[in-house]
């Protein structure tokens, strides 16, 4: 009995070793793989407008999708979109189910331990938005104005810190209620995240809302599997080019209503 199970175990072990070694032998750079297969697999969100969402034609669209297609085009390969969620986007990179992740990924030390980051490609920010006609250049102009914000969100904390005395901050339960209050005209100004504001502006073009000033910046980076230096360098080069050519600003303007601005490397 015991002999059989040991035998089985050994056999399994041999299979395991062979698998690992073959995958090691196979592990040429991700960039070589991409160029050889002529396919760039990019993890993108579909639940986070305007960065990534599904349009009425059921096709993913948004800033992250545009960026993924842009990188593929610059590499001269086909872009294959892989839908990821916030929870599984890093495992997708680690298990090589995607070559890149372009999914509103912020950089932090914990994530840097498990994946590498190429340059930032788009801003993510909490900001103040209002109608074009309303003059708001900075927090000092908020005094005596009504501002809608979601209670307890980052933008609430930042706004409370900087708003001029006399600012009438109206706090609501969640993003939907905050947006409803602003869209209904119950407040003059709204402080919210870029994605919420982008969505709101897209659905309510009549309000003629524009970006006023930023409360907090946390730009999005392109995620690369750990150690894929060649791919990372190539992506960085393309992003640097795109920045110089103004393509990043154009994408950001299109989806977020403001230029990308000065993004970190």
């Amino acid at each position: 009995m015991l002999g059989v199970s040991v035998n089985k175990f050994l056999r399994l072990l041999v299979v395991a070793v062979l698998t690992v070694s073959s995958s090691l032998g196979y592990a040429q750079g991700a960039l070589d793989e991409v160029m050889k297969n002529k396919v760039l697999r990019v993890g993108i969100p579909t639940d986070f407008p305007p960065y990534g969402f599904v349009g009425t034609d059921l096709q993913p669209q948004g800033l992250d999708i545009d960026m993924a297609n842009y990188l593929g085009a610059k590499l001269g390969v086909k872009t294959e979109l892989v839908v990821v969620s916030s929870a599984n986007r890093i495992p997708y990179l680690q298990t090589k189910k995607a070559d890149l992740v372009i999914s509103t990924l912020g950089k932090n030390p914990d994530r840097e331990k498990v994946i590498d980051f190429a340059s930032a490609y788009s801003p993510f920010f909490q900001a103040v938005f209002a109608a074009k006609g309303l003059s708001v250049k900075g927090p000092q102009d908020l005094g005596a104005k009504t501002v809608a914000v979601t209670r307890g969100a980052i933008e609430d904390l930042e706004l409370t810190k900087v708003a001029a005395p006399g600012t009438d901050i109206k706090r609501f339960e969640d993003n939907n209620t905050t947006v409803s209050a602003f869209v209904a005209g119950q407040t003059q100004v709204i402080a919210t995240g870029a994605s919420v504001a982008g969505n709101m502006m897209a659905k309510n073009p009549k309000l003629d809302v524009e970006y006023k000033f930023t409360l907090k910046d946390s730009p999005n980076f392109v995620g690369v599997a750990k150690g894929e230096e060649a791919l990372r360098a190539k992506v960085n080069a393309i992003i640097a080019e795109a920045k110089k050519a103004g393509d990043l600003d154009r994408m950001s303007q299109k989806w977020l209503g403001r230029p990308a601005g000065d993004l970190p490397q």
Binding site: A148, R151, E173, Q186
Partner: protein
Amino acid sequence: MIALDFAPVLAEWPALAKGLGLTVVLTAVSAVLGVSLGIVCACVRAYGSQFGKMWVAAYVELIRNTPFIVQLFFIFFGLPSLGVKLSPELASVIAMVVNLGAYSTEIVRAGLEATPKGMWDAAKSLALNKRQILRLVVLPPALKSIWPAMVGQIIIVMLGSAVCGQISAQELSYVANLIHSRNFRAFEATMIAAAMYLALAMLVRQLLMWLGPRYVYKH
């Protein structure tokens, strides 16, 4: 076991007091207006024209069969599209008045219908007109008999004002929610808010039971 720490919440007592103050104001204004509206509507429903009865019935059924928060959202988020923009506080008061008005209509009507027909006949034989009969003869005993139910309804509306924080009226629940969104002491903040509501409800009940016989249905 959670370690309870009330100090960070109690440190915000000026905000809590201000929130309690707005809850009291909302309740006071809507109690006076709501009960008045209820009395008028009940009289119309009991003795008014067919047309008046129909309108009051529609109002009562509409309000009593829809949730308060939906009525509140309708006033705050819906009316602006018709060009009516109200502050959160005013929207809250209107929602509470309209809500209390509908419920108190039915409460007062019960009192009116319980009034013996003989009282009307007796009053008529004294050559009082319809309005005088209502005000002097029929309403006082009717209000007296339904007053405890009315007080209960006012307290229900007062506790219902907790949802007015959803449209950013800065009443007690709004303040409690704001406090625990900052210091994450949710359990403590809601416990303190609950204790304040309890104390306020008991106080309001005592006050209204005292006020009733002296000012609402004088003998």
